[in-house]
């Protein structure tokens, strides 16, 4: 199956180059090309893609702003002509970083990385539980027991009604592995179980006595996913 992608790039020459590489590879479908972050987000709110080819510097918001505001986590390949973004790229857990202009060979290497990670995540879908490693033990957590997950640097905290578990992982990684219909990223540091939300007070979600903040960038998606009548 082909990788479904979009290109977010304000320089048409660069976007055309990339589109040509995608076509040539026979592995990547380009569903759209967007010249700015706002247009791309409009599309991403309606469609699910596997991969975003993302420029960083564009008119208005930056590529990193898009990553802050998107409500799910497709793979991301940064395409930029500035190497200084490498650290940010690492922070955002992007799959690869292509410095423009790049060759077809370099492009293919990136796609191979994406294919590798897709195989891994595909094996983990449709599970109603997960195992987390706490100290030396593997603990089974049912999705229905998880209230929310909070980022703690290189660790995350799983909060359940009865216990809290801290384990080595990232919100970004969990977002890909947990059921997207049930779990939603509401803030860079929080994933919540939508079925466990009791109240929404301004930008705070109340979940069984816990307060979870919603970031500005995620608020619209949260409101959309709550059953508001």
């Amino acid at each position: 199956m082909k990788i479904k992608s979009i290109i977010v790039e304000d320089i048409p020459v660069a976007a055309d180059f990339l589109r040509k590489f995608c076509e040539r590879s026979g592995k990547v479908d380009v569903l759209g090309h967007f010249l700015n972050v706002e247009d791309a987000l409009g599309f991403l709110n309606q469609h699910v893609v596997d991969l975003i080819f993302l420029d960083v510097e564009m008119p208005g918001a930056t590529g990193f702003d898009l990553l802050d505001r998107i409500s799910y986590s497709p793979k991301v390949i940064l395409t930029t002509s500035k190497t200084e973004y490498a650290f940010d790229a690492f922070q955002y857990n992007v799959a690869d970083y292509l410095k423009k202009p790049f060759t077809y060979q370099r492009f293919l290497e990136s796609i191979q990385k994406i294919e590798g990670t897709n195989e891994i995540s595909a094996a983990k879908v449709d599970q109603d539980h997960l195992f987390i490693k706490v100290d030396t033990k593997l603990i089974k957590l049912q999705n229905t027991d998880i209230l929310f997950v909070e980022s703690m640097g290189d660790y995350v905290k799983f909060v359940t009604p009865s216990k809290k578990y801290v384990t080595l992982n990232t919100i970004k990684n969990l977002e890909e592995k947990l059921d997207k219909a049930t779990f939603l990223k509401v803030h860079r540091s929080y994933l919540v179980n939508l079925t466990k939300i009791d109240d929404l007070d301004g930008n705070i979600l109340l979940i069984q006595g816990n307060q979870v903040p919603i970031s500005k960038g995620h608020r619209d998606e949260v409101l959309k996913r709550l059953n508001i009548i």
Binding site: I11, S81, K100, P101
Partner: protein, 133 residues
């Protein structure tokens, strides 16, 4: 489409031919398209630089320089691209636009000469591809 027999075309020595050979892999018809696009977009992109410079908006100037720098890479103007890179860096460090005057003027001159190189190269590509009218 990779054009057979394309080995007989050599990019001009004024361009980064190693990079261009790697990028286009002999697809000189596509190279022609990109060189044409370069000439189409360059005036607008450089106009953004001029507006920002004359308006004394350093942040906007940096963004416009960054955009133009990217464009230079696709046609093998690596030397000029490095000058753009240097100005982009200076924009990040400067507080007064006057500090950038010499670099701006030099870049403008380099861009003009780069444009002439690309016009000539596009002509050569058209000749080679048989698309010259």
């Amino acid at each position: 489409m990779i054009k057979s027999g394309s080995n007989s075309f050599a990019f001009s020595a004024e361009l980064d031919s190693g990079l261009l050979n790697d990028l286009y892999e002999g697809d000189l018809e596509y190279a022609e398209v990109v060189f044409k696009d370069f000439l189409k977009y360059l005036p607008d992109y450089f106009a953004e630089i001029e507006v920002a410079y004359k308006g004394k908006h350093i942040t906007e100037l940096r963004k416009a320089v960054h955009k133009c720098k990217t464009l230079m890479g696709f046609v093998g103007l690596s030397g000029i691209q490095a000058a753009y890179q240097a100005l982009e860096k200076k924009c990040e460090q400067s507080k007064e636009i006057d500090e950038l005057e010499a670099d701006y003027k030099d870049l403008k001159k380099q861009t003009e000469s780069g444009k002439k190189i690309i016009i000539t190269e596009l002509d050569r590509l058209k000749d080679f591809n048989g698309t010259k009218k």
